[in-house]
Structure formats: C-alpha cells, structure tokens
Amino acid sequence: MDKLVIAGKEFGSRLFIGTGKYSSNQIMAESIAASKTDMVTVALRRVDIENENDDMLAAIDREKYLLLPNTSGARDAKEAIRLAKLARAASGINWLKLEVTPDPYYLLPDGTETLKAAKALVKDGFVVLPYINADPILAKKLQDVGTATVMPLASPIGSNQGLKTRAAIEIIIKQATVPVVVDAGLGLPSHAAEAMEMGSDAVLVNTAIAAAADPVLMAKAFKQAVKAGRNAFLAGRAAVTTEANASSPLTGFLRD
C-alpha cells in the first residue's frame, strides 16, 4: 500500500486541510469530511472576552482528525516558540505547523527565524512541520535539524496562483529525506494534481476550498485531484519528445 508516513504516523490521505475562512463551522465540518483528510490545521488566538464566540473545535472530531496547530501571527522565532508551547498546552499534542511570517503583505516566511525556532522546538520534543519559501538549501538545513517534513509554498498564502515555485520545489523533492508537503497558494485541484505528479508527498489546502462557492464540492474535487496526481506519479509519465510519435500503427495503410 502507498501510505504517507510522517514522524512514524501513517496517513491514508495526502491532502491536509486548513480550517480558516469557512462561512460556518457546519460547512467546515462537511468540507473536512468530503476531503477525506486525516489532518487539519488550526490557529491560536486570544479569546474575545467581550464577545464569547462559539468553539470551532467542537465541530472537529478529534478521534478522526489529527490537529495540526500553527504558529500563524508569529513574526520571529521567539513568538513562534511561545505559540508552539501554548498550542501544546491547549491541544495536548506536540505536532506543529511552524510558520514565521513577519511581512504582512505577502506573508512570506522568514527562513532564518524559522530555522532558529525549528531547532529549539525539535529539541523540546515537538513534531515540526515548517512552512517555508521554496528554498532547497533551507529545506536541507531544516531536515538536518530534525523537522518531520518540509512545507514549501506554491505561491503566497491565500493567493490561489498555483505552482509558481515549481522549479525550486523539484530540487527540494530530489534532495528530501523527509516528506515534502506543498503548502499555500494552490488555487485549483489541477494545481494540487500538478504538485502530486511532480512527486510531492502531500499538499495542504485552505483558501481554495473554504472560499469556493461550494466548499464541500471543492473539497471533494481536491481529494480526487490529489489521488489522481499521486497515481500519475506512481505510474511514471511517458517520455516527452519534440516530434510526434504516432499512436496508430505506421503499417497497413490503404494506399500503394
């Protein structure tokens, strides 16, 4: 069986889902179910003390889905480590999507601070899945300090632009000794399929599903695309040539 294994844990699905931006907890829960994912990301924020809002965790079946808390909002390693520890205290698990994004416009990750935080968090027993720019050198350094995956971005978070970093992700996949999860910017199932056809081990999708007109149907479409892309990778693509290669026999023509 073709199973994805991260930090010793087996995953039946190669599609991970973000839980942000859904119009309701109900739509979120239905989309998660339709995606057949095994892992969903969540963020940590202050409780709104004036306005007690409902608890989104209640909509997620913790028996069925592994929570992957993120450190979104962290601008440097120190803030990321603080959020990581709070997330562990709140969830009781040590899995973490490490993200350090000091720039508010493009939300691009800070590689130096991410590496610094990753080192400290791995040492502290966290299973670290770092969100990074598609930087093959940084990806190598992160796997060397013991991160469980590397998660290069396809394009800026929530931009739906697709695989703008394809060439760099190809190098990351070639060098990787840990699973490569393409995270951020995948806007369509075809983008996810392309990432999987290249040999990515998994993809993480949020906005493209949550902000679709029909999130539940889009979640299903992503599930199918990830499966198709993975199967295509395993099947091995046929050779690319510049000239035509006839598919029909070149003998037995009805002419003299």
Binding site: T19, G20, M28, R45, R46, I49, D55, M56, A184
Partner: protein, 68 residues
Amino acid sequence: MNTLKINGTEKKFDKLPSTLVELLDEMKINHATIVAEIDGEIIGRDDFHQTAINTGQQIELIRFVGGG
C-alpha cells in the same frame, strides 16, 4: 487596586477572584477549550482551579480558531 490586564485590556474588579477558575466563571468563559498564560507562564487546564489570581497580573486567555 484590584486590576488585571486580560488579553491586553485593563480590567478593574470590586473583589478580585481568588483563582483562575473563578475568574473564568465570572467572565463566562468556557474553560474546557482554552489555555491561559499568567505573566508569561503557561497554565494548563488541569491547574486552573489551583492557580491564584493576584492584582496586577497580565493574563492571556487563548483558544483555537480556524486557520491554515
């Protein structure tokens, strides 16, 4: 003065709650789903009932929300 800084906002109390659980109950916050930090130290849910509240503390009350 009975004041606490909760999630960045100064709050005055006529009578300060004696424990974190009392504070959460007074503020009508469901403690089953949150984590707290008092003066930079993380307080796990199991310790809420035995954590004393003192004036001037900086308290962060945090919970999971949807995110990518």
